[in-house]
Amino acid sequence: MGVNYQPVLWNRNKKIYDKWIVISILIYLLCFIGVTIITNNETSVETLIIRAFGTLAIALLHIILAIGPLARLNSRFLPLLYNRRHLGVSMFLAAMVHGGFSIFQFHSLGNVNPIYAIFTSNMDYGSLTNFPFQVLGFFALVILFLMAATSHDFWLKNLSPKTWKRLHMMIYLAYGLIILHVFLGALQQQPSIGSIVIMSLGFITIATLHLATGIKETKADKIKTQHIENGWEYVCDIDEIPEDRAKIFIVDKERIAVFKYDNKLSAISNVCKHQGGPLGEGKIVDGCVTCPWHGYQYLPHNGQSPPPFTEKIATYRLKNDNNKIYVLPEALAEGTEVEPITF
């Protein structure tokens, strides 16, 4: 949401958040290096860097994948979601250091192209346990590169939110490749039960959080409206919606959010234009519906972002009959003004 682009849209919260990211990363690296030197002082500097940054990238990836479902399950995690982008780029940089040093140490000292050597140093592609795990890590790194490189809002606007979202959903493919990369690497290099157990626990945690979120979303989608004559559908009573908040309903297979504010009611699409955030889980701030994910704003009576911004979402007609709210399921064109109903 902007009238021109900035390299980074800094604000006080983002600066604090980034400071914590840097401090946490430094503490992790120092601890990892310290523990490795104490327990195995024969480890070379290159190996130490490869392992420190590899484990750092995996830890950050698990945190990133956990933030989305956690924010859907509990709104206290929303500030983390708002700032997740910088964590993603940090994770890619850590993975790149890991990959770069691995290529340098294992593949760049011969007379074969290092990238070609990744694919040919182990040709046991038919084996399950001896499969060349570095190839999996290489493709995961390519996906992470594409994601980090397109993390700026310019890409969201110019690739279209749908394409951008599809591209960034490839994180799950990268995660799968990384899991196999770590498991096979742990099995083939220095069989380590600890690595396998930690990675398994991480996978179970991520899978459980996503499953819990899916169940919660499915339950929310099952809230049915009651059909009545002339196409108007009863959704709820006015008292059921908190002030400056919304209730979300599925009407004609679309999620809509009915907002209550200043003794008025307005209905808009529940889907934010930015990254598809759930507008109905946001609140009215300064007279605008504010997306809980990244703070994009829309005027409740016309679904338009306040000038000079240009985003628009669909609006819906409402009626009030004895404090009962009815909605007309047909979505109006994005940005269509609808007189709010008063009570």
């Binding site: 021109n4 900035q6 990238i115 394409t163």
Partner: protein, 72 residues
């Protein structure tokens, strides 16, 4: 298998090689052809977009061509 690997590695080299050249074009001209708001933004924004242009050059090239056709 060696031939398949050679094809994959050659493809990657060619793809990112062309992407690199496109990235330079995108920094100089392409980004502002695609989105006029870029002209009002700092040059550092365009620099930040270069890795994305290298990675997604076929999509961006098509978008720029389509936009040029519509505008002409």
């Amino acid at each position: 298998m060696t031939i398949v690997i050679q094809i994959i590695v050659s493809f990657l080299g060619l793809y990112f090689g062309i992407g690199f050249l496109f990235g330079i074009y995108f920094f100089i001209k392409g980004a502002s052809q695609l989105d006029e708001l870029i002209t009002e933004s700092k040059w550092t924004v365009r620099l930040l977009l270069v890795p994305g242009a290298i990675g997604l050059w076929p999509i961006l090239l098509l978008k720029i061509i389509n936009k040029s056709r519509i505008n002409s």
